[in-house]
């Protein structure tokens, strides 16, 4: 059964888009057909990781929401940009990066309900194994909708006080929406922390699965947004951890 998976974080800067890109690439590497939709309409970013430039964007999520195109027309096959012979597929549905179009969304808003139809059309139209929604930080309407219709919500947090607090709110809200599966990823963990200790504490605090405790990685920071880490460093221990998370997404 195809899955819709929301990946969210309460605040920006947790490495959410990076994690989404890596998980999508690793799933495609395992032969899956994966859609990635950037619903972070106000501050889009994941297209950079997949090497999709403005000139290559035929249509964006914004065009779909304004009725200019079908959602599948806004899907870009970025598998080739990953730079590997990959048996699966990664389709990216980007948000527009044109300032005017971002401003228009801010000014006019859009029918959030359209998102739901769009997600469904994508899964069916592209014959996806999974659609990963890269959500906007915080809990606005489209994020709540994304969470509501997802089969799984993965919340990414850093081990710090603000993220702990914000994550507790998201977890509570997601439970009220009866999300079938809920999991956490602790990212950018300082090297001095014992990952097992972090996992145990976070699981206990939220009564929720922790898929991984990922370390702060200098290589990942260095690569920043110029590529997908797991593709560049296939044998890195961090990639192995991400691969195991990818497996859990589809389990």
């Amino acid at each position: 059964m195809p899955k819709i998976i929301s990946i969210h974080s309460f605040r920006g800067g947790t490495g959410k888009s990076n994690t989404v890109a890596n998980l999508a690439a690793l799933l495609a590497e395992a032969g899956r057909r994966i859609g990635v939709i950037d619903t972070d309409i106000l501050s889009p970013g994941i297209h950079v990781l997949f090497g999709l430039g403005e000139e290559a964007m035929r249509y964006s999520l914004n065009d779909y929401l304004w009725g200019k195109c079908e959602i599948t027309q806004a899907a870009h096959d970025v598998t080739g940009n990953l730079g590997l012979e990959i048996p699966g597929r990664v389709f990216l549905i980007p948000s527009s990066i044109k300032a005017g179009e971002i401003a228009r969304i801010l000014r006019e808003g859009y029918d959030v309900g359209l998102l739901n139809d769009g997600f469904r059309d994508l899964v069916e139209g592209l014959d996806l194994d999974a659609l990963i929604i890269d959500t906007h930080p915080g809990l606005n309407e489209e994020t709540l909708l994304s969470i509501a219709i997802s089969d799984m919500l993965v919340i990414i947090l850093r081990p710090d006080a603000q993220d702990y607090q914000g994550t507790s709110v998201t977890v509570e809200v997601a439970r009220k929406l009866d999300v079938p599966r809920l999991a956490l990823i602790v990212n950018k963990t300082p090297q001095v922390f014992d990952p097992l200790e972090v996992k145990a504490r976070v699981e206990q605090a939220y009564n929720c699965d922790v898929f991984a405790v990922l370390p702060h990685s200098d290589e990942m920071m260095e690569l920043a947004s110029s590529g997908v880490f797991s593709v560049r460093y296939p044998n890195h221990p961090l990639t192995a951890q991400l691969r195991s998370v990818a497996g859990k997404l589809m389990a």
């Binding site: 059964m1 195809p2 819709i4 739901n116 469904r120 899964v123 069916e124 809990l139 309407e141 709540l144 909708l145 509501a148 219709i149 089969d151 081990p159 710090d160 006080a161 702990y164 607090q165 507790s168 709110v169 509570e172 809200v173 009220k176 929406l177 009866d178 079938p180 300082p190 001095v192 922390f193 200790e197 972090v198 504490r201 976070v202 605090a205």
Partner: protein
């Protein structure tokens, strides 16, 4: 090398080299000089062996000897050096062997004639007692310094134990650190290292504090309510399960 049977006036400066006689007046020394027995040794010839009864002191007039214990060489002695001083005052078995390493000329002063001289000439006795007292005082002073050194050393090791127990006070080593010797340096290095380690530990504690997950439940309840009490959320909640199930049958 001095000629055999060194004349008396040449023996005088040799006797002045003996620490015990530093305080002895010259005319008394002349008497002592006549008591000196001249000895000539060839290279490799032994003066005495470890364990031999010792009842005399020796002054090297020329040549060189080694002080040794079997093959182990403790020291070399040369012209004007004196050995066995104490044996001449108080007999005791030799604590080491002495052997000439080249042709050597020695003067020996035996205990019996020395004591006879001391009985005859009170000044010799007083001089010897004075020097012995000085020796003794110096030894007591040395021991005092050794004791202080050991006490300060103990302070460094006590400081190490205090660090382990978490009750270390850096000032406890200030006095030891003021020393200019190696112990002082050890103490300063120790103080610095503990300072650095405790800084690092402090940083680590801060980070571990961040690992403690504290959630403000009141704030959380307010934030959750702010979202869930909206009309949008209520509708979404009602629709959520149907939205999901709407998708599922078709995909299966």
């Amino acid at each position: 090398m001095l000629p055999n049977q060194v004349p008396l006036d040449q023996r005088l400066p040799i006797l002045k080299a003996v620490h015990l006689f530093v305080q002895t007046p010259e005319d008394a020394l002349k008497e002592a000089a006549s008591l000196l027995e001249e000895i000539h040794l060839a290279e490799g010839e032994m003066v005495f062996q470890k364990g031999d009864p010792g009842e005399s002191m020796y002054i090297i007039a020329a040549g060189r000897v080694k002080v040794h214990d079997g093959d182990f060489i403790i020291n070399y002695l040369g012209k004007w050096d004196v050995f066995g001083e104490m044996s001449a005052l108080d007999p005791e078995p030799r604590s080491a062997s002495v052997t000439a390493v080249e042709a050597t000329q020695l003067f020996r002063l035996e205990r019996q004639p020395l004591y006879a001289l001391m009985t005859r000439r009170e000044e010799v006795m007083q001089g010897v007692i004075h020097i012995l007292c000085q020796h003794l005082r110096a030894r007591v002073r040395d021991m005092g310094e050794d004791f202080e050194y050991m006490q300060q050393f103990a302070r460094v090791s006590a400081a190490a134990a205090a660090v382990e127990a978490g009750v270390y006070e850096p000032e406890s080593l200030d006095e030891v650190s003021a020393r200019t010797d190696e112990l002082g340096q050890l103490s300063r290095v120790f103080q610095r290292m503990v300072r650095e380690v405790s800084l690092r530990e402090q940083r680590l504690k801060t980070q571990v504090a961040e690992l403690r997950i504290e959630i403000d439940e009141v704030k959380k309840a307010n934030q959750v309510a702010e979202i869930t009490e909206t009309e949008y959320f209520q509708q979404l909640r009602q629709k959520a399960s149907s939205l999901r199930s709407e998708r599922s049958p078709r995909s299966e």
